[in-house]
Symmetry: C2
Subunit: 249 residues, 2 copies
DNA sequence: CGAGCCATTGAGACCGGTCAAGTTGGGTGG
DNA sequence: CCACCCAACTTGACCGGTCTCAATGGCTCG
């Protein structure tokens, strides 16, 4: 097989420097030697097929993973409750940060489609951070962002209606696609309705009905897992709407 | 009242070395010169009175805070929805980690009683971490733990009944008190029912009724904000019980 | 002693979950 | 190419948990 000079090789070879996620990944801000060092410590395992498990719940924590192409979900198994989807990962995002605390992986991470990742051994990453203040700062930012996102999610889950959750989910996905250079108004959801429901704390039927309602109201159109956002303004307004849940505080 | 100081001096003066939270705080594992350096960079502002605001939502992020005595809540204001309590902080815990991501404080942090904190300028902390691998590792662990806790909370909010949420909350508080050397079976809740409801995504009346129900079932006894756990086993069982919410996944 | 907050309790309404049946679509084998 | 299957999704009917509204009592503070 001849050498190919650009883009990800089928075997997984590529260089951070040329990776289209460089400016959004952990490598953001890294240059020259530091970037080369970073590049040197990561592995690029063979791609995952749909349904394959990247990380098993309970495994000892050792690696972070950066998604290159494809997407994954994190699923947590719990005694006495249905499994719960706690995360969706898109290209450029970091898998496994939540394992740093306990040293144990908190859930299964499963590919939703054919997915390429980069494997980052955390111990080596820590060593690298001693010499690279940029990298250290960057990883702290990533974790801080995830904390903030989780808090948003908690607010969404505890105070908002089914329609608001769905609208917020769609807008969130739209924004994430936009940031990655994909269309924010028409995209493919690689996860099932069941996954979405689990993630949003809704029954699968409620997800389906909400989508149906949105379509009737001409806010979106749905064909299977393809979604087009027709009226993002109304969706945004819907999320912010006061429905007066809780008498708290 | 709990958390009245045995170790830290009322005036705020103390040393990390002698602080009763040393082994649980960011300083865990630090010794000798490193601990002294850490000690040197932190401020010990005057104590907060009940209701006083330590951090304002939207403020530029600059400091972390370690709680020495007392307790606080984090409240997020949101357009079109009621304010939401997203955190309770007890002695030895770290306030402000979620600001690291965006550089902006995500919510108000308000004292629930007279509260002493240590102020840790994050920039200086980052500098210190260049020389102290221990400190760096420790801060990563703290953030990882918070991530994991948030995920637990998301699972709680999205898949469990009011009773299960209350039981989980009580057990969680109990455990946190136990770790700090207080009684795990009888403790004072410094937050109002409204705060609890907001935190758990429940109406205030639902919180009240759940507590009443638990008391009738002899699982706990309640006198105002004092709570005694009578039957932690049943409470634990209740949390794990499958109530069959969601048909997802 | 009244004002205001906090907590409790009751009555009724409604959102969303469960159960059940039906539809669609992709994959497989004859 | 069609028949069949299974998983994913949709739709309808019903029910229950939790929210809202409202009234009450206790406590603190001015």
């Amino acid at each position: 097989m001849p050498f190919t000079s650009t883009g990800p090789l089928p075997g997984g070879g590529t260089r951070c420097e040329y990776c289209c996620h460089h400016s959004r990944c952990l490598t953001m801000g890294l240059e020259g030697e530091q970037l080369a060092d970073f590049d040197a410590l990561l592995e690029r395992p063979r791609p995952l097929k749909r349904g394959e498990v990247l990380v098993h719940q309970g495994d000892q924590f050792g690696n972070l993973y950066a998604v290159r192409t494809g997407s994954l979900k994190q699923v947590q198994f719990q005694v006495g409750a249905r499994d719960q989807v706690t995360h969706f990962y898109l290209p450029g995002e970091l898998v496994g940060l939540d394992g740093i605390g306990s040293g144990e992986c908190v859930g299964n991470v499963v590919a939703l489609e054919s997915t390429y990742v980069c494997e980052l051994p955390f111990l080596q990453l820590e060593v690298l951070m001693k010499d690279s203040h940029t990298l250290q700062h960057r990883l702290f930012r990533c974790m801080g962002e995830e904390l903030r996102d989780h808090q948003r999610m908690m607010c969404l889950l505890s105070g908002r209606t089914a329609d608001q959750r769905m609208a917020s989910f769609l807008l969130g996905m739209s924004e994430r696609f936009r940031l990655r250079g994909y269309s924010p108004s028409r995209f493919f959801l690689s996860m099932s309705r069941g996954d979405i429901g689990s993630y949003l704390g809704l029954a699968i039927e409620t997800v389906s009905r909400a989508l149906g309602r949105f379509q009737m109201q001409k806010l979106i159109s749905v064909e299977g897992r393809w979604v087009s956002l027709k009226d993002m303004e109304s969706l945004t307004r819907m999320v912010a709407e006061d429905v007066g849940r809780h008498s708290g505080t």
